[in-house]
Amino acid sequence: MKLGSTINIALRALRRNKMRSVLTALGIIIGVAAVIAMVGIGNGAKAQVEAQIASLGQNVILIFSGSTTSSGIRTGWGGAGTLKIEDAEAIRREVPGVIAVSEEVVSTTQVAAGNQNWFTRIYGESADYFDIRQWPLADGAPFTDQDVRSANKICVIGRTTATQVFGNEDPVGQILRVKNVPFTVSGVLAPKGLSTQGVDQDDIVIMPYTSAMKRVAGGTTLRNINVQVGDGSQIAAAQQQIIALLRQRHNIRPGRDDDFTVRNQQEIADAATATTAVMTVLLGSIAGVSLVVGGIGIMNIMLVSVTERTREIGTRMAVGAHGRDILMQFLIEAVTLSSVGGVIGIIFGIGASQILSSYAHWPTLISLSSIIVAFMFSAAVGIFFGFYPARKAAALDPIEALRYE
């Protein structure tokens, strides 16, 4: 028997029960739409994290003071002030392959200009920082090595800080008072938007670390050191050398834990993407459950349909239908329900994720592969859950089926 006429027969049967067909397909529609939307959210988050990580700069190694594995008092990274300016200078001087180093201190404080004030984060950095982070200025100029050496009262500010303190005025060349110390704003950073943790990265003041330590934060230790290596293949070697160098400088005996933490960008990226990947899988599998429920709905309806159409099946067999023809007919009905449901579900899922991105501002990313997988999966659900009822129909005894009331 031609496949074409089997398909024709199956579609006719579905059309005879429009309402039932639509409701059955609805289970799959919701399941597929949920999968598409949830995986879209997960992938969107992942893409955002990746973009954020990339914005850390290329081939970057981060050294934090304090250790996550320190025995006894555990401070976590960025805790105990164990990193000195001299450590950074030693890295700059002695570790081969290093092309840029930025000492970093961080504090939060009130800043003011004219009659406006604003609470923001103060980052002390070296002049290399803007290259390492690949963070260009939208306006004005960054501070220089000379400014760092002299601990000049100069800073660049983020877009958010600029808007909050200076409003519509051009901040470049204006005075910003930080803890009542007047700093000249030399430039405004290009906006970077929210970080992965949801922090506004443009709410920031960046000044020479020397100025920050001397005039704003006080103290003599660095929170962390940002190191950039010229060639990606040198990262591992540079990381080892930095660890050896710092252990030597900090007089850490063999067998004792580091009092600092070294992470390269790839490790941070891997950790972050692993988290979002887990989230994607979680969201996807929860949505997948509803797809399975939809499949059970199909099976249920197909079983009812087989019972209801027992006489029809008997008649078809009497006029020459093989068991295989009956099996195919019911299988095609089930697969048609599930794959048409799948296509509609994909459309709804794309729509739902676009609504989420535009109203809830969640980043969503719908990949072609997730659409194809969702479609294949919904068709597979039809085959899987349609097979049992179809086989039941095909195995009917024509004599009994003909007499079924």
């Binding site: 006429s5 078809r316 006029v319 020459g320 295989r324 024509p398």
Partner: protein
């Protein structure tokens, strides 16, 4: 039209196993039916006539014995082979019509063609179905659904479906069981016309007057053939119809 026997049963037995008890529904039936015969298979319920009909219709296989249909032994064929035999060589007419609901008369008649091995285009299917429907007096009602047709008309659609693949034998199982007496005579009229055209018909019935429209009656009891005789006073449907009062104008 070929001559000679179209159906030959040799010592056919059929035993059903229900639990511990064996039911001998048919206990050794031998029967020959020539091409062009119109046979009524009669008997009370439990006589084995339905079981024999199922075997004749290739819906069931004999436990022992041989069944030769159109010079081919079909007693040992498997499910799919029997389905092909039913499709090519047999046409079925049932008591309760067994038409597909919400499906037009034409599509119902096309059904055996869809399951056949010949690959016909949609236009050819339609042409063939319409021609057969016209031959049973249903021209113009091709697009009607079963619910829009009277019982007699539905049975004619079923007869058209049985004829569409040019079968060797038409098997009718109580074809008038669900019809009033006038419509029953009309259906018998169609069978007589078909038989006059040379089509072999085997009909199961328990009504003696319906059996009198056939040329030959085979009466069964307890799984055996009790009587096998040619009908001497055969009813002619056209004459009988004139005698019956016209109770409806549903005749197409």
């Amino acid at each position: 039209m070929k001559n000679g026997e179209v159906v030959k049963l040799v010592d056919v037995h059929k035993t059903y196993h229900t639990g511990d008890v064996d039911v001998h529904a048919v206990r050794g039936v031998s029967l020959e039916i020539q091409r062009g015969e119109f046979v009524a298979l009669m008997g009370a319920s439990g006589s084995g006539k339905s079981t024999l009909m199922n075997i004749l219709g290739c819906l069931d296989r004999p436990t022992s014995g041989r069944y030769v249909l159109d010079d081919a032994d079909v007693s040992a064929l498997d499910r799919d082979q029997l389905a092909d035999i039913r499709n090519h060589k047999l046409g079925f007419v049932f008591q309760s019509f067994n038409l597909l609901p919400r499906t037009s008369a034409r599509e119902n008649v096309e059904l055996p063609l869809l399951y056949g091995t010949r690959h016909l285009s949609n236009a050819q299917l339609r042409e063939k179905a319409d021609a057969v429907l016209a031959s049973v007096g249903l021209g113009g009602r091709e697009d009607h659904h079963p619910s829009q047709l009277s019982g007699g008309q539905q049975q004619r659609v079923a007869i058209a479906r049985a004829l569409v693949n040019d079968p060797e034998v038409v098997l009718a199982d109580e074809p008038t069981g669900n019809l009033d007496s006038r419509t029953s005579v009309e259906i018998m009229g169609i069978f007589q016309q078909l038989n006059d055209r040379g089509i072999t018909i085997i009909m199961v019935t328990h009504e003696a007057d319906i059996a009198s429209y056939a040329r030959r009656n085979v009466v069964m009891r307890d799984g055996l053939i009790l009587k096998d005789f040619n009908v001497t006073q055969r009813f002619d449907a056209a004459t009988e119809l004139e005698r019956l009062p016209s109770i409806s104008d549903e005749n197409a």
